[in-house]
C-alpha cells in the first residue's frame, strides 16, 4: 500500500468556506440561473455515488472556491469525501425552509398524520455508519421533504456526521410516541 506523502491535516468547516458554499448554492436556486449553474446542477443531481461526484468538474470548482477562502486549505481525502456529499446533496435542495434535516423530516404537512420521513426510514439514516450510506439515504429523503431544508445546517451535519450529530438528530426529530 502506498501512503500519500503529504496528506493535509484535518480541519473543520470555517465560516468563510460555508459562505462560499452557500453563495454557490444560491446561484443554483435564483430565478433564471445561468447556463453554467443549470449544467452543474444537472450533472450533480445525476451523480449517484460519491466517486461519481468527485470526478465532476462542477464539484471540483465548488471545492476550489471553498478551499481558496481565507484561513482554509485543502482537506484530507476523508473530509473531501464529505464535502463531495454536501455539494451533491445541495444540488437537490431547491429552497431554504430554515429547518434542520431532522426537523424537516418530521414536520407534518397541514392535516397529515404522518411524518414526511417515517420513523423507520429515519432510524436507518441514523444507522448510516459512513458518508456513502448517509449520502444515499439523504438523496432519497430530500424529495420527501420537498427539497426544502436549511443548506447551512445540512452542510454542517454531513460534515460532522458522527455520534454527536446522530444524538442531536434523535433529539430533534419529532417521534410520534412523544
Amino acid at each position: 500500500m502506498v501512503l500519500i506523502a503529504s496528506s493535509p491535516a484535518p480541519q473543520g468547516l470555517p465560516p468563510a468556506a460555508i459562505s462560499a458554499l452557500v453563495r454557490w448554492w444560491k446561484t443554483l436556486v435564483i430565478e433564471n440561473p445561468s447556463g453554467q449553474a443549470r449544467a452543474d446542477r444537472a450533472v450533480l443531481r445525476r451523480a449517484h455515488d460519491l466517486t461519481a461526484v468527485a470526478c465532476l468538474p462542477a464539484y471540483q470548482r465548488v471545492y476550489r472556491s471553498m478551499a481558496g477562502t481565507e484561513g482554509t486549505g485543502d482537506w484530507p481525502p476523508f473530509q473531501q469525501e464529505r464535502i463531495a456529499a454536501i455539494v451533491a446533496l445541495l444540488a437537490h435542495v431547491k429552497a431554504d425552509s430554515g429547518l434542520t434535516l431532522p426537523r424537516a423530516m418530521s414536520l407534518r404537512a397541514e392535516g397529515s398524520d404522518r411524518n414526511p420521513v417515517s420513523e423507520l426510514r429515519f432510524r436507518r439514516l441514523l444507522d448510516a455508519g459512513d458518508v456513502e450510506t448517509l449520502f444515499a439515504g439523504l438523496r432519497r429523503a430530500l424529495p420527501l421533504v420537498e427539497h426544502r431544508v436549511d443548506p447551512e445546517s445540512l452542510a454542517k451535519d454531513v460534515f460532522f456526521w458522527g455520534d454527536g450529530v446522530k444524538k442531536r438528530w434523535a433529539y430533534d426529530y419529532a417521534w410520534s410516541m412523544t
Binding site: 429547518l99 434542520t100 434523535a170 433529539y171 426529530y173 410516541m177 412523544t178
Partner: protein, 541 residues
C-alpha cells in the same frame, strides 16, 4: 490486664509515628488521631474515650468546659478523674470484667472462635453453608488483649442482630455516629484531645436534671459490674429510667466472656505485635440487656418515625453532602424530621462566645448492616467551616436555605434517574439505579460546598436568590451532562431506541426547567412558562 494502667490505645503522634498509650495520656497535645488497625476500631475508640470523659469529668459549667478545651488537663488530673471507676476497667481476673458478662464462665457452653467478635466475620450459618465468599472464615484466630478489648467494645457498640436473644446495641445494629472534630487545617492538625472534648458536655448539660438518683451504684453505669438481673428482670427490657444516664455510653447488649485461660504465645492477627497471652475464644449466651424505650444516644442523629425517635443507620447509598443538613442542623421538612445528635445540638445552641474561633468538621461513620451481615463500613468527614461563629438566628436561616438546596438536588436526581430508566427500558424497569444517584451526588458535591462555605463565611454578602439560581444552573447542567455523556449518551443513539431516548431527554429537559424544581429551591416561578416547554417542541432548534 487493667485498662486504666495498660498502654492499650493505639494513637498517631504529630510526627506520624504510631504509639500505644494509656488512657490518662490521652490529653497529650502531641496525639492527633486514633490509629487502630481497623476503621471500626477507631470509631469505637472515639466513642469509648468520649464516654469515659463524659462519665468521669467533674467539669460542671460552660466556663470550666471551655478552659479544658483550650488547656487540656495533664495526665495526673485525668488519672484522678478515672480512679474512682477503676473497678469497671479490669479486663481479666476472676470477677467483673470490662464489657463481659458477670455470671458467665468459660466453662458455660461451647467456645466460639475469637474472630467472631469482628462485625464482618462470617456467622455460624455462613460457615455451615460454606457461603463465606468474600470474607473468609479463619482470618483472625488469635488476638492480643489490647485488640480483644477493642474488638469486644466495638461489637457491643455496633451489635447487630445475632439470632434469637442475641441483642442489638442500644441504637440498633450498626448505628450512625456523628462527632465534632477540631479542624486546624492540614498544616496545623489539632490535638485529639480537642476533638474528644468537643463531644463531651459539662455535667449540667449532660445530666440535664437527671443526676441518676437511685442509680448511683456503679453497675447502673457499667452493667458488667453485676448480674444483668440487677438491672433487668428476666424476660424484661432495659429503659433509660432503670439506669444511670451515663449508661448510654456503656451499653452491653451481648453476653460474652473471653476465655483467658486457654491463651497462647505468638503474634496477634490484627496488630501483628507479639504477645504471650493471645486470646483464642470466648463463650456467649443470649438474652442479655434488651434496650427498649426512649434512649437518646448523645452522639447519634435520630429521625422521627411513627412511634417516636429512631436512631439513623448508614444506608447502602453511603454518606455525603445530602446528609449535611440533617446531621449538622437537623431537618424539619414535611417529609422528614431529623434531630441532630444531642452533643451537636447543645454545642451549636450554646453561647457563641464559648465556641467561636474553633475550626470544625463533622466525622460521621457506621456500619451499613443487613441484619447480621455487614454490607459496608462508611466513614466520612464533612466540613462545617465557621459554623461555630454563627448565631442561632443565622443557623436558622441557613437551615432553611440549605434545606431548599437539598430539596432541589433530590428532585433533580429523581428526574435524572427516571430519564435514564425511561431511555433504556420500556415500561417499569426494576433494578438498582443507585449508580445514577451516586454519580449525581458526587458531581455536585464540590459546588455544594463552595456555595455553603460562601454562605457561612459571609451570610450578609450572599444573595439568597442569586445563590439558589447558581445552584439550580449547576443541577440542570450536571443532570443533562450525566444523561448525555455518562449514561444514555455514552452509547451510539442508533443502537438504542432513539425515539425513547429522545422522549426521555425532552422530558428531562422540561422537568429540570419546570416550575417544580424552581419551587423546591424557593425561587420565583414564572407564570405559565413552565408548562408549554414539555408539550410542543419549538420549530427551530
Amino acid at each position: 490486664m487493667h485498662l486504666l494502667e495498660e498502654p492499650w490505645i493505639p494513637v498517631l503522634r504529630r510526627d506520624g509515628a504510631r504509639a500505644w498509650v494509656t488512657l490518662a495520656q490521652m490529653s497529650d497535645p502531641d496525639i492527633v488521631a486514633f490509629d487502630a488497625p481497623r476503621a471500626d476500631f477507631n470509631g469505637a475508640l472515639a466513642q469509648f474515650m468520649v464516654g469515659l470523659l463524659q462519665t468521669t469529668t467533674p467539669a460542671a459549667s460552660q466556663v470550666q468546659w471551655r478552659r479544658l478545651l483550650l488547656t487540656p488537663p495533664d495526665a495526673a488530673t485525668l488519672a484522678d478523674w478515672f480512679a474512682p471507676h477503676a473497678a469497671a476497667f479490669t479486663f481479666d481476673g476472676p470477677g467483673a470484667r470490662f464489657m463481659q458478662d458477670f455470671d458467665l464462665r468459660a466453662s458455660d457452653g461451647d467456645p466460639v472462635g475469637i474472630g467472631a467478635l469482628l462485625i464482618e466475620a462470617p456467622g455460624e450459618n455462613a460457615v455451615k453453608n460454606n457461603s463465606d465468599l468474600f470474607i473468609k472464615r479463619g482470618h483472625v484466630t488469635r488476638l492480643c488483649p489490647h485488640c480483644a478489648a477493642l474488638a469486644l467494645f466495638t461489637l457491643q457498640v455496633n451489635a447487630p442482630a445475632g439470632g434469637a436473644g442475641h441483642r442489638t446495641g442500644l441504637r440498633g445494629g450498626g448505628p450512625l455516629t456523628t462527632l465534632l472534630v477540631a479542624d486546624g487545617g492540614p498544616e496545623a492538625p489539632r490535638s485529639l484531645w480537642q476533638t474528644l472534648w468537643l463531644n463531651v458536655r459539662h455535667q449540667q448539660d449532660f445530666l440535664a436534671g437527671d443526676a441518676g438518683e437511685g442509680h448511683e451504684a456503679p453497675h447502673y453505669t457499667f452493667p458488667w459490674l453485676a448480674s444483668i438481673a440487677a438491672i433487668q428482670q428476666e424476660g424484661g427490657q432495659t429503659t433509660p429510667v432503670q439506669v444511670h444516664p451515663a449508661h448510654v455510653y456503656w451499653a452491653m447488649p451481648r453476653r460474652i466472656r473471653l476465655d483467658m485461660d486457654a491463651c497462647s504465645a505468638g503474634t496477634c492477627d490484627l496488630c501483628g505485635r507479639s504477645s504471650d497471652a493471645l486470646i483464642e475464644r470466648y463463650v456467649t449466651r443470649n438474652y442479655g440487656l434488651n434496650y427498649k424505650g426512649a434512649w437518646l444516644h448523645p452522639l447519634s442523629p435520630y429521625y422521627e418515625a411513627k412511634d417516636g425517635l429512631l436512631p439513623l443507620h448508614p444506608q447502602p447509598d453511603g454518606l455525603g453532602y445530602r446528609h449535611w443538613l440533617s446531621w449538622v442542623l437537623g431537618m424539619q421538612s414535611d417529609k422528614r424530621k431529623v434531630v441532630r445528635a444531642s452533643v451537636i445540638e447543645q454545642f451549636l445552641s450554646g453561647d457563641v462566645e464559648h465556641r467561636s474561633g474553633i475550626g470544625l468538621r463533622l466525622w460521621a461513620f457506621g456500619y451499613d448492616m443487613d441484619n447480621m451481615k455487614a454490607r459496608c463500613w462508611y466513614e466520612s468527614t464533612l466540613p462545617l467551616y465557621q459554623l461555630a461563629d454563627c448565631s442561632p438566628a443565622a443557623q436558622q436561616s441557613l437551615r432553611e436555605e440549605v434545606g431548599a438546596w437539598l430539596q432541589g438536588a433530590e428532585l433533580a436526581v429523581s428526574y435524572l434517574r427516571g430519564a435514564v430508566k425511561d431511555a433504556w427500558f420500556s415500561q417499569d424497569a426494576r433494578g438498582d439505579f443507585s449508580f445514577v444517584d451516586a454519580t449525581f451526588w458526587g458531581r455536585t458535591e464540590a459546588a455544594f460546598y463552595e456555595l455553603l462555605r460562601a454562605r457561612i463565611q459571609a451570610p450578609a454578602g450572599t444573595d439568597r436568590v442569586a445563590t439558589a439560581e447558581r445552584w439550580l444552573r449547576h443541577l440542570i447542567d450536571t443532570a443533562l451532562h450525566l444523561f448525555d455523556h455518562d449514561w444514555v449518551g455514552s452509547g451510539p443513539v442508533e443502537r438504542m431506541n432513539p425515539a425513547r431516548v429522545a422522549a426521555a431527554h425532552r422530558l428531562l429537559r422540561a422537568s429540570l426547567n419546570g416550575p417544580k424544581l424552581r419551587a423546591a429551591l424557593a425561587l420565583e416561578v414564572p407564570a405559565k412558562a413552565g408548562k408549554k416547554a414539555s408539550v410542543k417542541p419549538s420549530k427551530k432548534a
